[in-house]
């Protein structure tokens, strides 16, 4: 589904990704861990097509297409979703309005008709119930005045409505209380399927207790320095990151 090879990128003249290699197959869940500032969010944003990041080397294919040549909105319509680490507030723009516009943009690209307003409302009500969000969020501005945890829940809600092929969730588990973590995990698990893939950027094993990954990677200094199965995350939780770097140097 996603194949990243030797990807390097810089921002503001600074080299942040220094040769990332990663292959994610349909049906898989991958976790990316790594110290603060190692480039996890940068990788996520480069994949999503943020223009401030300049790709200096390497290639990325998404379902066989050259991802890097596609504009951000084209990537989204092709089924790539990014759950932001810091979801932005857009004052005055209705939360549901944005989501409807997003869904319709995707449907239009796929040659499908626009979603019927009643159908859409029914759909979103159902998903909100699943995410245990109050209907008050229907009428509020996009993330406007949402608490940290509410913003993350809203990201997962959007993901569930848009049903992406590839979801990249950047620390969607950070800042969640224990109940919310369960809700979010259930949400992510409900999206798992043979045709889809999920990349979780996280600092914590606890998410991975609920959403069990097929592979775990450590990103450090802008590249993946170690990969393993779910036990790698458990080991990182116990031992921290130092031993990974040391064993690499050795």
């Amino acid at each position: 589904m996603l194949e990243i090879s030797d990807l390097s990128a810089r921002v503001a003249g600074k080299e942040i990704l220094t040769g990332v290699n990663l292959k994610v197959n349909a049906g898989e869940v991958h976790a990316i861990m790594g110290p603060n500032g190692s480039g996890k969010s940068t990788l996520a944003q480069v994949l999503a097509g943020r223009e401030d990041y300049e790709v200096t080397r390497g290639s990325v294919t998404f379902e066989g297409r050259d991802l890097l040549s596609m504009r951000a909105e084209e990537r989204a319509r092709a089924g790539l979703f990014l759950g932001f680490q810091y979801p932005v507030e857009i004052p005055g723009v209705n939360n549901v309005y944005l989501l409807k516009a997003a869904l319709n943009a995707k449907r239009k690209a796929a040659g499908e008709p626009e979603v019927d307003a009643y159908e859409f409302l029914a759909l979103i009500r159902q998903k909100m119930k699943f995410m245990q969000m109050s209907e008050a969020f229907l009428s509020r501005g996009v993330n406007e005045g949402f608490s940290g945890g509410e913003k993350k829940r809203n990201e997962v809600l959007q993901m569930l409505v848009l049903e992406p092929k590839l979801a990249i969730l950047d620390e969607t588990d950070s800042g969640l209380d224990i109940d919310a973590l369960k809700v979010v995990s259930t949400g992510v698990n409900s999206l798992r399927g043979p045709q889809r893939a999920v990349v979780l950027v996280t600092h914590y094993q606890r998410l991975l207790d609920y959403v069990i990954p097929d592979q775990v990677h450590v990103l450090s200094g802008g590249r993946i320095v170690k990969s393993g199965d779910k036990t790698l995350a458990q080991e990182l939780e116990r031992r921290g990151y130092d031993w990974v770097m040391e064993s690499r140097v050795a």
């Binding site: 401030d52 951000a72 005055g92 501005g141």
Partner: protein, 482 residues
């Protein structure tokens, strides 16, 4: 009669004859401005003497005045002798014969605004059949309004049919000597609108100048006068949303609102005069004086404006809050793109006790535009317990535009409360990327973010206008980002 005024009469008569020679042929006066021209306009409209005297007084005062230069706008000096002060609608011979002859770019804009086809033709100046001229529509309005006792007519009709009201109220709020452009307007105004809502009457419909678009086309110096008597209320919509295609054309209108005890006037504007092209060529110079006076206690005047057009906008709808407990409101969205310059804001003058004012201004700048908010909140010693809340937000799109905010405050009564909030933000790269990542196109994303920014003002507009305003906004900002 003094010799002085005899001279004037003589001069007037002479100029008048001269003026009308050309007039008969082309139904317009030659460029130039003197007392003869002022008199010729008055004569042409068959005005009573008090109005001619009033115009001449204004003209004589105007001659002693200097054009203001304090606004944050720049333009080549206007040659007031090079302007024609009376001109009838364009001769059909020059007008395009069908839509095929009209600039397709203009038509595309109309289409985007959702203006019906026959309306588009009319706006573009196509010589169309009079059926489209909404005469019947106007008549049904007139009947309904007449039953309620509401007078709603052109200014010229009001001068003819209600000279007493004109004599009593004209210049009450904006005296002919008020400022350079108001004085000029007072001397040469061609037509405009008049509204009188009698005591205790709620005007049964929104009044709008939309269907009188043809009049607006010729009227560079319109005059509007709205009077709400005791306990009356009225909502008035102004605005032809037609972009005008003329070269730098001067538009100096005056609007006066008078609110008596317990009355309410809501005045909404969607202004979309031609702003000039992408390079700053052409466009309207919009120098407008708008002022409302809450004369009576518990009266309320509310200005809502969405300004997207004009090359230069110089406009400060104001409220003079004389009556006890009276309320003034100003809600504004001003958009400036390309090389547009907007200097707009409001003045709230608190005179009566417990008067209250609210100012919400949203400025959007894109391209090379300059967008200035200029506001004055003045609380006189008599205005015990007065309150004002001001909020000014600016949104910048791109690196070359600028926003300026000049909030002036003069508080002369210690019991008054004045609050001010201001913000300037760039259209968030983060916000834009968030929308793009959800599959929304850059254009739609910008529209969405900007509409969100303006929402509190749009909420104040009557329903059908809000939709139009929103469409207008997206047309004005087309290509501003991405």
């Amino acid at each position: 009669m003094s010799t002085k005024s005899q001279e004037v009469e003589a001069l007037v008569g002479q100029k008048y004859r001269h003026g009308f020679v050309t007039d008969i042929e082309s139904d317009s006066l030659p460029p130039g401005l003197d007392e003869g021209v002022v008199a010729a306009i008055s004569k042409k409209k068959d005005e009573p003497k008090f109005l001619l005297d009033w115009r001449l007084k204004a003209f004589r005062h105007w001659r002693t005045m200097k054009e203001p230069n304090w606004a944050h706008v720049h333009y080549k000096p206007i040659d007031y002798q090079d302007i024609s002060y009376y001109s009838a609608p364009r001769a059909p011979a020059n007008a395009p014969k069908s839509l095929d002859e009209v600039d397709p770019k203009l038509l595309a804009t109309y289409a985007k605004l959702g203006i019906p086809l026959h309306e588009r033709a009319r706006l573009a100046g196509v010589a169309v059949d009079a059926v489209f001229d909404s005469v019947s529509v106007a008549t049904t309005f007139k009947e309904k309004l007449g039953k309620a006792g509401v007078i709603f007519c052109s200014f010229s009709d009001a001068v003819r049919n209600h000279p007493d009201l004109i004599e009593r109220y004209l210049g009450m709020v904006v005296p002919p000597t008020d400022n350079f452009f108001a004085a000029l307007n007072s001397a040469v105004f061609s037509d405009g609108s008049f509204v009188y809502v009698p005591a205790g009457v709620r005007c049964p419909m929104e009044l709008s100048t939309y269907f009188r678009i043809n009049a607006a086309k010729t009227g560079q110096f319109e005059r509007t006068l709205i009077i709400a008597a005791e306990g009356a209320s009225v909502s008035y919509l102004e605005g032809c949303t037609a972009p005008m295609r003329d070269e730098n054309q001067l538009h100096a209108a005056v609007v006066e609102l008078v609110a008596l005890d317990d009355s309410q006037i809501k005045y909404s504007t969607v202004q979309n005069w031609y702003p000039g092209d992408e390079n700053g060529l052409g466009g309207i110079y919009n120098f407008v004086t708008k002022r409302g006076e809450c004369r009576g206690r518990n009266s309320k005047i509310s200005w809502t404006q969405v300004e997207t057009g004009s090359a230069i906008t110089w406009k400060y709808p104001s409220c003079v809050l004389k009556g006890e407990n009276s309320i003034g409101e100003f809600y504004s969205v001003a958009v400036a793109n390309n090389y547009q310059q907007a200097d707009t804001g409001t003045k709230m003058i608190h005179i009566g006790r417990n008067t209250k004012s609210t100012i919400v201004s949203k400025g959007i700048s894109a391209g090379h535009a300059q967008n200035t908010y200029r506001g004055l909140v003045k609380i006189l010693p008599s205005a015990a317990g007065a309150r004002n809340f001001t909020q000014c937000d600016s949104l910048l799109m791109g690196p070359q535009c600028a926003a300026h905010t000049f909030p002036y405050m003069e508080v002369k009564n210690p019991t008054a409360t004045v609050e001010h909030e201001a913000s300037t933000s760039k259209i968030g790269e983060d916000q834009l990327f968030y929308c793009l990542q959800r599959g929304i196109s850059a254009e739609d994303a910008v529209n969405m973010i900007v509409s969100g920014f303006c929402k509190v003002v749009f909420k104040e507009l009557p329903m059908e206008f809000a939709v139009e305003a929103q469409n207008l906004l997206s047309v004005s900002l087309e290509g501003a980002v991405g």
